[in-house]
């Protein structure tokens, strides 16, 4: 919209900018805090009133944090685990959502309810039997142990089904008439159309997995297989808990995800646009 800048509009813009900056500061403040604390000395963090900005580029905490835990390795492990789960979920959920949308079969609603029910079963309710199973399969300390139990998703199936339903049924019927197979129709028509929904699911499942705490702790033994969230816990020394070292670890973990996030943000939003979750 091309407006000539009227005085009214200018005032509005100023108010808008003020609100934007205010909200931005509020959102960023916790992150700034982590950066700030990570560069304070032991004495400085105990001071009151608190230091709101570092006084020098003090990097000892970072060295300390990296010495205490191989954070890079943890990041890699988390990334691999989350990527595996993400790909697995995209695969299983698109297949299932396809069946729920385009195939008419008996007990469809029952099956759909079964899928939804999985969303409602708290993971905590099944964790002990699952844990014993992973042990029995000898999957401890493996990526399949970290990833496979999460490779199906009721939520993702629901999400994709909602999106698939916006694809005209006639498209499917016509394709079938032309002798196209289900898989062909799914991969060449449905999936490309559903990219925004797939993107949402991808981001969501990646983050969910990346955030896992209890499961990786249970099934990984060796330091090689630990994930980031556990790594951060490693920095919490029960006897000599120092916020500056912990925050240094937090910052180290945040840097790669932030860089990636800032670079991919535009595409992410674009990917989500066109009615990410139109339903």
């Amino acid at each position: 919209m091309n407006h000539s800048v009227s005085p009214n509009r200018m005032w509005l813009n100023i108010v808008m900018y003020a609100l934007l900056i205010l909200s931005g500061v509020a959102v960023l403040y916790p992150i700034w805090t982590a950066i700030n604390i990570s560069m304070l000395t032991d004495q400085q963090i105990a001071a009151f009133p608190p230091h709101l900005a570092p006084t020098s580029l003090y990097l000892q905490n970072f060295i300390h944090a990296l010495q205490q835990a191989p954070l890079g390795r943890y990041l890699l492990n988390s990334t691999i685990q989350s990527s595996l789960v993400m790909l697995g979920q995209l695969f299983t959920a698109s297949l299932a959502a396809y069946a729920f949308t385009f195939i008419d079969f008996k007990w469809k609603n029952v099956f759909f309810l079964v899928f939804l029910a999985t969303m409602m079963i708290p993971w905590e309710a099944t964790i002990i039997p699952n844990y014993l199973l992973i042990k029995k399969l000898n999957w401890t300390d493996t990526f399949q142990g970290l990833a496979v139990p999460f490779m199906a998703t009721g939520f993702g199936t629901f999400l994709l089904r909602q999106f698939f339903r916006t694809i005209p049924r006639e498209l499917h019927d016509a394709a079938v008439m032309d002798g196209a197979s289900d898989l062909y129709f799914l991969s060449s028509i449905v999936l490309p159309l559903a990219r925004p929904a797939l993107g949402t699911l991808a981001v969501y499942s990646f983050l969910q997995t990346y955030n896992q705490y209890l499961w990786p702790l249970l099934i990984t033994n060796s330091p090689d297989m630990r994930t980031v969230q556990i790594g951060i816990a490693l920095l919490q020394d029960e006897e000599r808990f120092m916020f500056n070292t912990v925050m240094a670890g937090v910052v180290i973990i945040l840097i790669p995800t932030f860089i990636l996030f800032i670079f991919s943000n535009r595409q992410l939003i674009r990917g989500l646009t066109a009615g990410a979750v139109k339903g």
């Binding site: 032991d42 004495q43 963090i45 105990a46 001071a47 009151f48 000892q60 060295i63 300390h64 990296l66 010495q67 205490q68 835990a69 191989p70 954070l71 890079g72 390795r73 990041l75 890699l76 988390s78 990334t79 691999i80 990527s83 993400m86 844990y131 014993l132 042990k135 029995k136 401890t140 490309p192 990219r195 797939l198 993107g199 991808a202 702790l217 249970l218 033994n221 060796s222 330091p223 090689d224 556990i230 816990a233 490693l234 920095l235 919490q236 020394d237 029960e238 006897e239 000599r240 808990f241 180290i252 790669p256 995800t257 990636l260 670079f263 991919s264 595409q267 992410l268 674009r270 990917g271």
Partner: protein, 502 residues
């Protein structure tokens, strides 16, 4: 349009790989300046056992600089391929788990070629114990596991441990140099089940400068509950607007502290003499001694002379360091960290844990806390033998002196105090003498041996909830204390039933 996600994904993987490489390379920074670990404080490792491994550490970290190597590989590889390899699960985070324990393992590994120990940090005590429980069902266990003091009864009942007493008897290993009070805690049915590893007791820390400012004698810290409350009142400062700027004292809401106050009051936590003359069947901490503690604690908070910084002891500690409270209670293990971070800024005094009355000092005392090393009996005999070898090694005077000065935990061996490292350390941290005196002056009896129950962790959490209830002003001390006792009794009975203990 789909490309962005691939881009994101691929770059994420690449980036974290890079970071993994950095993580691997990072320890090399330490290698360039191995003599200045950030907070290693006093006693520089000058004695033989520590100097040699420092070199070993250096070579190991150079190897770790190869991107694919495990960054934590500060442990030198085994000298011999035929060495029996054992795992040692521990729960020491920070410098202790990251440096002191790998150092000890290195010392051990290089001292002989029969056994090779790999220490693995397994998260908190609770995490580690839960992993052990699960591991027992699938035979994935370490040969040595560090378990907290309050897990003792559970491990004995589960029958998963080979008592170290077996080895002591077999080798006629001399334990007369080991601390009696410490051994007594881990002695169950006249057998020493596990070897004490990290041992501490709680002491009173106070700010001498504030004592002076309040007109109190900084060399005469409070000894009884009443004196403590009176001093706390005197130490409390308010500004013009009536806002409290300094609280006289602060206790973290930590069940361990309650247990300690109960012990110095002569109270038993559970029946059957703290579960040491037979299985505990019910909680008894809600007797007059326990009630007295709850009332004392609640009154100080209600009077506004004691602050409440929550359950985490570190928060209370930080409040003290920030000059917001004049006295607090904490483990002896934090002493060094406290001293180092206040060097030249604050004059810290230490004292015995306050008792209800003066004559309680001669009758009872504090219970040792911390953890001990257990030999897991489902490992092959060769591994168990190696576990014992390591345990014996780490309890040598030199290793104990190193352990003490690195971690701040008591050495379990009296002669560790006589080593050069030990003497230097005592001179540097005279406040630690209080801790040693308190340990040595405690008579060994059923009260000070501490309670043995299989459900201790949950009992402790139950007490903590009870304390939170009285501090939130919801009720009088009776109800939360009695409720807590009831809950714990139920838990003990469930435990006994499920374990077939009658």
């Amino acid at each position: 349009m789909r490309k962005p996600f691939y881009v994101v994904l691929v770059s994420l993987v690449v980036l974290s790989m890079l970071l993994a490489a950095c993580g691997g390379a990072a320890p090399t920074t330490a290698v360039t300046q191995p003599t200045t670990p950030p907070s290693a404080g006093g006693a520089q490792p000058t004695t033989a056992p520590t100097a040699a491994p420092a070199a070993a550490e250096a070579t190991a970290t150079v190897k770790a600089a190869v991107p694919t190597a495990v960054p934590t590989a500060t442990i030198a590889p085994p000298k011999s391929e035929r060495a029996t390899k054992i795992e040692f699960w521990h729960s020491m985070a920070g410098d202790i788990g990251g440096k002191a324990i790998p150092q000890m393992a290195n010392d051990f590994n290089t001292s002989q070629d029969k056994c090779y120990v790999t220490p693995i940090y397994q998260g908190s005590y609770d995490d580690s114990l839960n992993k052990l429980k699960a591991g027992l069902q699938s035979n994935q266990t370490p040969a040595i596991v560090q378990v907290y003091d309050i897990g003792t009864r559970l491990l004995v009942d589960l029958g998963v441990a080979t008592p170290v007493q077996n080895y002591i008897d077999k080798e006629k290993y001399d334990i007369s140099d080991l601390e009696g009070n410490v051994l007594s805690y881990y002695t169950v049915d006249n057998k020493l089940y596990s070897m004490p590893f990290n041992t501490s007791t709680p002491i009173l820390y106070y700010n001498k400068d504030m004592f002076k400012a309040a007109g109190l004698d900084p060399e005469k810290p409070p000894r009884t509950f009443d004196e403590f409350a009176a001093d706390a009142a005197k130490l409390t400062q308010k500004d013009a607007s009536g806002k409290t700027t300094v609280y006289g004292a602060a206790f973290a809401i930590y069940g361990w502290f309650f247990e300690q106050f109960l012990a110095v009051s002569g109270g038993m936590y559970v029946d059957n003499n703290n579960g040491r003359d037979g299985f505990a069947t019910k909680a008894t901490f809600n007797g007059p001694e326990g009630l007295n503690i709850f009332q004392w604690w609640q009154k100080m908070v209600n009077d506004g002379v004691m602050a409440n910084y929550g359950r985490k002891t570190v928060d209370t500690r930080n409040a003290f360091l920030a000059g917001q409270t004049a006295m607090f209670i904490d483990s002896t293990a934090v002493l060094r960290g406290m001293m180092d971070s206040t060097k030249g800024k604050m004059d810290i005094g230490t004292a015995f844990l306050p008792r209800p009355t003066e004559d309680a000092y001669s009758k009872w005392g504090t219970i040792i806390g911390g953890g001990s090393l257990w030999i897991v009996n489902n490992r092959p005999t060769a591994e168990q033998d190696c576990a014992w070898e390591f345990i014996r090694f780490q309890s040598s005077p030199e290793e104990q002196a190193y352990w003490w000065t690195m971690s701040g935990y008591f050495p379990i061996r009296k002669s560790a105090y006589d080593t050069t490292v030990g003497k230097d350390w005592s001179a540097k941290y005279p406040q630690y003498t209080t801790a040693i005196d308190q340990l040595h002056q405690t008579p060994v009896n059923r009260v000070t041996q501490g309670a043995l129950i299989g459900v201790f962790p949950s009992a402790r959490a139950t007490i903590e909830t009870g304390i939170e209830e009285i501090l939130s002003g919801k009720s009088t001390p009776h109800f939360p204390l009695d409720n807590a006792a009831q809950t714990v009794t139920q838990a003990i009975q469930d435990y006994n039933a499920s374990m077939g203990l009658k």
